[in-house]
């Protein structure tokens, strides 16, 4: 997978014969387009790529990709993907899920796939609403969110996908936005290159049921002043004119103007390997902070299938490749 082969694949190779049926203006179109743009560049044979999804608007994704795929059941995509990875460790497996699918009904599976470090690329399309079931609040909806199922406002505290992923020891945690297509492509490439669980939160716009969720940060013109793009080993600078940064004030991050009291050397320098910094970054939410975009954490640890197949090899070296005759007789036997 690290070796890039020229396969002469193009975007067209990844477009299935199915008509894409999302609402006009849905953010999913942009993510699909970026995926179909990025995959041919990866040097991975198309037949080794599998998309697995659960239920929801985003989970229609596999139908539109001309790869292997399973559209499964609510919340369970990580379980199918884990079994697939264990059965067939050579595959390049993507899990496409939404905030309801992954964090509500599938919350348990999500954390366990990540803690096992199964070699999966999990894309969580977060629009903070239930779209397919027509507009109920989701586990990521802000407190007070008024929907059909919360007419007086949601009284539940939202989950933060990134801190959840960090708590579950995900070895790659990143964030991107549907409307920021170039950056989204970069994050998808980085996720694809990572060995182990890649978890990517993608801010996604549901134009029908939650159209203003990302207002303030999704507009291309004003975005640079409201989000921060992370780069490993680089200070946390943002703003159209690179005039703002984030420093640590005690344990709390603080947005500062550069040029006056603070300069670049006062700022946090991004370190992808730091679990501690990752938590700080993951907690920086709009509108109090510029939400970070890009790779928040990336560390290399043995993957689930590396460990599993390592045990298979070790057992075969120690005991020899399994022999049924020996197995049947590995007990007190007697002959009549």
């Amino acid at each position: 997978m690290t070796e890039t082969i020229s396969l002469e694949l193009t975007r067209k190779d990844f477009v299935s014969d199915q008509t894409v049926r999302w609402c006009p203006g849905c953010g999913d179109y942009s993510i699909l387009a970026q995926m179909q743009k990025v995959l041919p560049e990866l040097g991975i044979p198309k037949e080794k790529i599998v998309f697995i999804s659960g239920i929801g608007c985003s989970s229609r994704f596999p139908y539109y990709m001309n790869t292997y795929g399973i559209h499964s059941i609510h919340g369970r995509a990580p379980t199918l993907a884990s079994g697939l990875a264990a059965a067939n460790p050579d595959l390049n497996i993507w899990v496409v899920t939404g905030d309801g699918d992954a964090m509500s009904i599938g919350g348990n599976h999500l954390i366990h796939a990540m803690r096992r470090n199964v070699d999966l690329k999990i894309l969580l399309f977060n629009n903070r609403i239930y779209g397919l079931t027509k507009g109920q609040y989701s586990p990521t909806s802000r407190k007070g969110k008024k929907t059909k199922s919360s007419p007086m406002g949601s009284i539940e505290q939202p989950l933060n996908p990134l801190t959840l992923a960090l708590s579950a020891e995900a070895t790659f945690v990143a964030r991107a936005m549907d409307t920021d297509t170039v950056h989204l492509g970069e994050v998808l490439r980085a996720a694809a290159a990572h060995e182990g669980t890649s978890f990517v939160e993608i801010y996604q716009d549901c134009v029908i049921f939650n159209p203003n969720e990302w207002a303030g940060i999704d507009d291309r013109r004003t975005r640079p002043d409201h989000v921060i793009y992370l780069e490993h080993d680089k200070p946390l600078i943002f703003g159209k004119n690179n005039d703002k940064g984030v420093r640590l004030n005690g344990f709390k991050p603080e947005v500062v103007e550069l040029g006056g009291e603070f300069s670049e050397k006062d700022l946090i320098v991004h370190d992808e390997t730091s679990q501690e910094l990752a938590y700080i970054l993951a907690h920086m939410e709009h509108p109090n902070y510029p939400p970070p975009m890009g790779v928040i954490r990336q560390v290399r640890k043995p993957t689930y299938t590396e460990e599993l197949m390592g045990q298979v090899r070790m057992a075969q070296e120690r005991k020899g490749v399994g022999d049924l005759q020996k197995l049947y007789h590995a007990a007190d036997v007697w002959t009549v």
Partner: protein
């Protein structure tokens, strides 16, 4: 000592129960006695019975752990109705087991444990050893604890507690003397088990020997018994529990398919031992996956099946309830996999350590929509091997999930297994469509194009060029598998899935009948009731009753000839460890009104005697 002398009474069969506190090591004692008897050549059948609690309060009735073994010079099919000898390590064990004991049977009690406190814990108002309540039994009072301590007094490095833990081996040695068993197998087991703790090994060996010598030197035991080796078919044997045999069958099937075995499971009694048996077999490319829950286990198995492995999960009833949504996904995806339900007492969490056959309707009908799934049921512990292999074969043949309905009784009980030569076991044919070079061309791959004979769809696995395809749980069009809400497509696919399951009857032997091919009464069974019913029917036949027995190993689809068999008898009796689930299905399937349910809701296996009595009643009522 193995040569029978005049001092031995010859027995054809004997049933022995070891019973004690759940900390007394009774399962181990029973297993050791079983192994020694099996190696000696007796036919054996065992029934472990232990509490659901890991350690119920010591000495109480709730904490009694028992292990029953039936050994015989004949072919036996059950662990026996009534123990001839009971080894009771404390008053609670005596109280729980006494009602089952054969009249005039032998009781060995550990008198050291018959203290006022223990008697009180067992709800005894008076000491049964003194109040005459054991009149009619041959009672031997042995101070097992103090004798064991005395035997081990030379081992100064051990604590009294450690010494007391050896008293089960003292009891075992005594049982070995009474029943003329050899000590060697248990001695080598002890050496192997406690290889890292030589002083513990030594203590247990001394206790075992001293128990044996105690029998020999004490005048108390006047009777010794001998059971000749059984005349089993020639070959090599070992003792297997149902769960062990299931694991062996799965590994065999995987090897015979040339596939890795993926076993995704979540621990649950009484299915966990399958996971325990498979986990050490990594050198067979067994990939066990301990999932976070039952749903994940089922999901992982679907993924593994899609990936081309032999995919299996095992659970028990409450776990199967959680799996049902994903089982339906597997049915829609049409992927081969095996789902094992080791049934236990229900509903809900019910009786985790007790047996039942209460999940038949659950596996046949417990899912949304039209959801036919093949169901196989083993008839004895060793048969779990064959059923596991068969289930894998059928799953691949029809590209469908297949359920094995095992039972707690079969899972934990053991019997001799005639070890097959693996080379004689047929390979399981697996076909994967080959890759295509025109992967970017115009000819799409059809994932739901069916084999004309079996109606199976192709098992195209990711990684194969040119066969890229998407499958899912939504209704789909035939052949292309594309999502379709067309009512005709929906109906057609339902028929196709049902028909391919029905056609599995072609790949399974026709139903056989034991006894007359037509007549008055047919007893029809499935699962672990086989042994008790077959033995009772045999006895009834020898008394001249017009009765036959048919035992089903495949419950969906039914064998092709089942309907015609059923119509050959005036009456059909269906004994089941449930309230009549198979009887209900048979009535509905074949429209018969002469089917008599014979339910047993005691969460324990049928006894031969009670089935025989039922048969007697049916014939005397004429």
């Amino acid at each position: 000592m193995s040569v029978p002398t005049d001092h031995f009474e010859e027995l054809e069969s004997v049933v022995i129960r070891f019973a004690g506190d759940s900390g007394d090591g009774m399962q181990l004692t029973g297993t050791q006695f079983t192994t020694a008897s099996a190696v000696f050549g007796n036919d054996i059948s065992t029934l472990p019975d232990y509490p659901a609690e890991i350690r119920a309060p010591a000495g109480t009735l709730a904490g009694v752990s028992g292990f029953q073994v039936n050994l015989s010079q004949h072919d036996i099919l059950t662990p026996g109705d009534a123990p001839f000898m009971l080894v009771a390590m404390n008053p609670a064990a005596l109280k729980v087991s006494l009602p089952d004991l054969e009249i005039g049977g032998i009781i060995i009690v550990n008198t050291d444990a018959f203290t006022p406190a223990n008697l009180k814990k067992a709800d005894y108002a008076a000491n049964p050893l003194e109040d005459g309540s054991l009149k009619g039994y041959e009672v031997h009072e042995v101070p097992l604890t103090s004798l064991t301590r005395e035997a081990l007094k030379g081992l100064t490095t051990l604590t009294t507690k450690e010494k007391d833990r050896c008293q089960n081996f003292f009891a075992l040695g005594l049982a070995f003397w009474i029943f003329d068993r050899r000590l060697e197998t248990s001695e080598s087991w002890i050496e192997h088990k406690f290889a890292q703790k030589p002083e513990i090994a030594q203590a247990n060996k001394i206790a075992l020997e001293m128990g044996f010598f105690f029998g020999e030197t004490t005048e108390v035991f006047r009777r010794r018994f001998h059971i000749r080796p059984a005349s089993l078919p020639s070959g090599t044997y070992r003792n297997v529990t149902g769960n062990e045999a299931t694991a062996l069958g799965l590994v065999t099937a995987a090897q015979k398919m040339g596939k890795p075995l993926f076993y995704g499971s979540y621990p649950i009694t009484p299915a966990s031992d399958i996971l325990h048996a498979l986990a050490p077999l990594r050198n067979f490319d067994v990939r066990t996956f301990q999932a976070e829950d039952e749903i994940a286990a089922m999901g992982s198995v679907i993924g593994a099946a899609f990936g081309g492995a032999l995919a299996v999960t095992g659970t028990s009833g409450p776990g199967l309830a959680l799996k049902s949504e994903a089982m339906n996904l597997a049915i829609m995806l049409e992927l081969p996999m095996v789902i094992i339900d080791v049934q236990r007492g229900g509903p809900s969490t019910g009786m985790p350590t007790k047996t039942e056959q209460g999940d038949l309707l659950q596996v046949l009908y417990g899912r949304n929509g039209e959801s036919p799934i093949p169901v196989l049921a083993p008839q004895g512990p060793a048969d779990c091997f064959d059923i596991a292999y068969e289930a894998c074969r059928l799953a691949v043949r029809a590209m469908t999930p297949v359920v094995i309905l095992s039972e707690g009784y079969l899972a934990n009980s053991s019997e001799p297994w005639h070890i097959p030569n693996p080379d004689d076991i047929a390979p399981i044919e697996v076909r994967h469509p080959e890759g295509r070079s025109d992967s970017n061309g115009d000819a799409p791959f059809f994932p739901y194009l069916r084999d004309e004979e079996t109606l199976a769809r192709p098992w195209a696995i990711p990684g194969t060029p040119g066969l890229e395809h998407r499958i899912g749980g939504l209704s789909k069009a035939p052949i292309t598998g594309n999502v379709s809400q067309d009512p005709r497509h929906h109906e057609q696919m339902i028929h196709l899935r049902a028909e391919k399951v029905a056609r599995l009857a072609d790949a399974f032997p026709e139903q056989e009948v034991f006894g007359p091919a037509e007549g008055d009464l047919l007893v029809l069974t499935w699962g672990g009731t086989f042994g008790a019913v077959r033995t009772a029917v045999t006895r009834a036949q020898s008394k001249g009753y017009d009765v036959a027995h048919a035992h089903l190993r495949i419950l969906n689809p039914f064998p092709r000839n089942l309907g015609s068999i059923l119509r050959n008898y005036k009456r059909i009796l269906v004994p089941e460890l449930n309230s009549g689930q198979l009887a209900f299905v048979l009535r509905g399937t074949f429209g018969l009104d002469n089917i008599m349910p014979y339910p047993n809701l005691h969460a324990r296996p049928f006894k031969i005697g009670e089935v025989y009595q039922k048969l007697q009643e049916l014939f005397s009522g004429e």
